[in-house]
Subunit: 218 residues, 2 copies
Amino acid sequence: MAKAMQYSEQEGGAIRQRNEKAIMAAAERVFARHGYRGASLQEIAEQAELPKSNVLYYMGSKRKLYVRLLERMMARWNAMLDDISAEDDPAEVLSAFIRSKMQMSRRHPEGSRLFASEILGGAPFLQEYLRGELREWVQSRAAVFREWAERGLMDPVDPVWLIFLIWSSTQHYADFEAQVLGITGREALGDDDLEEITRFLTRVVLKGCGVRHPEPVT
Amino acid sequence: MAKAMQYSEQEGGAIRQRNEKAIMAAAERVFARHGYRGASLQEIAEQAELPKSNVLYYMGSKRKLYVRLLERMMARWNAMLDDISAEDDPAEVLSAFIRSKMQMSRRHPEGSRLFASEILGGAPFLQEYLRGELREWVQSRAAVFREWAERGLMDPVDPVWLIFLIWSSTQHYADFEAQVLGITGREALGDDDLEEITRFLTRVVLKGCGVRHPEPVT
DNA sequence: GTCTATAGGTAGATAGAC
DNA sequence: GTCTATCTACCTATAGAC
């Protein structure tokens, strides 16, 4: 394989990069919409505007493609989790947490739905990640929240339920987009809508947990 | 069809009822787990412990079976929505709303996931329901919430975002059960866990929206 | 690297024996 | 009412021409 690439490395690498990108984007959409089983390589290939066999040539198998997409999403997720590691001001940290999660829903709605579909199906590919890496992250945050409560910086609410509250209420705008649009009668949510929702959620969560908001509440 | 049923109506009706019930239960699980396309009649039949053709005999087609399941879930949903029509005390109504939704997640997790899967896939079968019936219900509630805000009974938060907050945070425990169990390290959530979460969500939402809680907050 | 042809399996649905 | 056999279509994956 390394040998085959040698003679056309210059633009061959470029072609590969372009095609793989197209496949990944198309696959994210299709897997998000129909789940792992319901998605077909045919549909992915059509949306990527490539012959079906090229999808398998670049990605190896349906399974490998799916795992690769999940891993890309986990990488984005982890990058975001690291972003909000400041541990001093509860209001600031919780606001940043909510805002980051909302931006994830905004920037990667297909990825969010892909993740949701995987969890909905019982998380067959993500069991390890959930019970390992992610669990540890949650517990480390939970410890911080508990300390804040002890120091009287917020109410003594269960930190894990609080994290789930923030996750669910922010992801909702990606995962249940079809419902949100149907009920609000909009064709799409704009940046201004997302900003308004972010403010709403920040306000309710911070006030609801007895945390003081750093910015003036509108 | 009516003729064929006549001679064995007594226990024939009973058999039909029993088989249909088994098929519906199995199908709800399988559709919830794999989505409409990803679900196979073979798997549904196996879980219902019936031959595949019997599933089609009783249900007509995969599509009809799926629609029937969605309609049953909508019926449960509507029954719950009617339950909380008391429009006097904000704290009481919002508490009852959160509690009802949590009980839906508890009693019908597969149905909740089936609904989530349908929305995740762009709600191809439920567009009409979302843009019609459900939208009207949301708007009627929103009007009530706005009136409460005007009368100073709660903060002037956007009522639609509030409804989405309650929906998302309660459904999370059915739809993302796999994640919740993975992170908490539990094998299942008990009635006591659900009660604790209900209290937590009620407390945060009511306090966060400036509504006074009817019961003493623990 | 790219794409056609096709193998081997399973999908939803139906016909017809019992 | 029940179930086997089977139809056609589509699925993933691979072999091999170019």
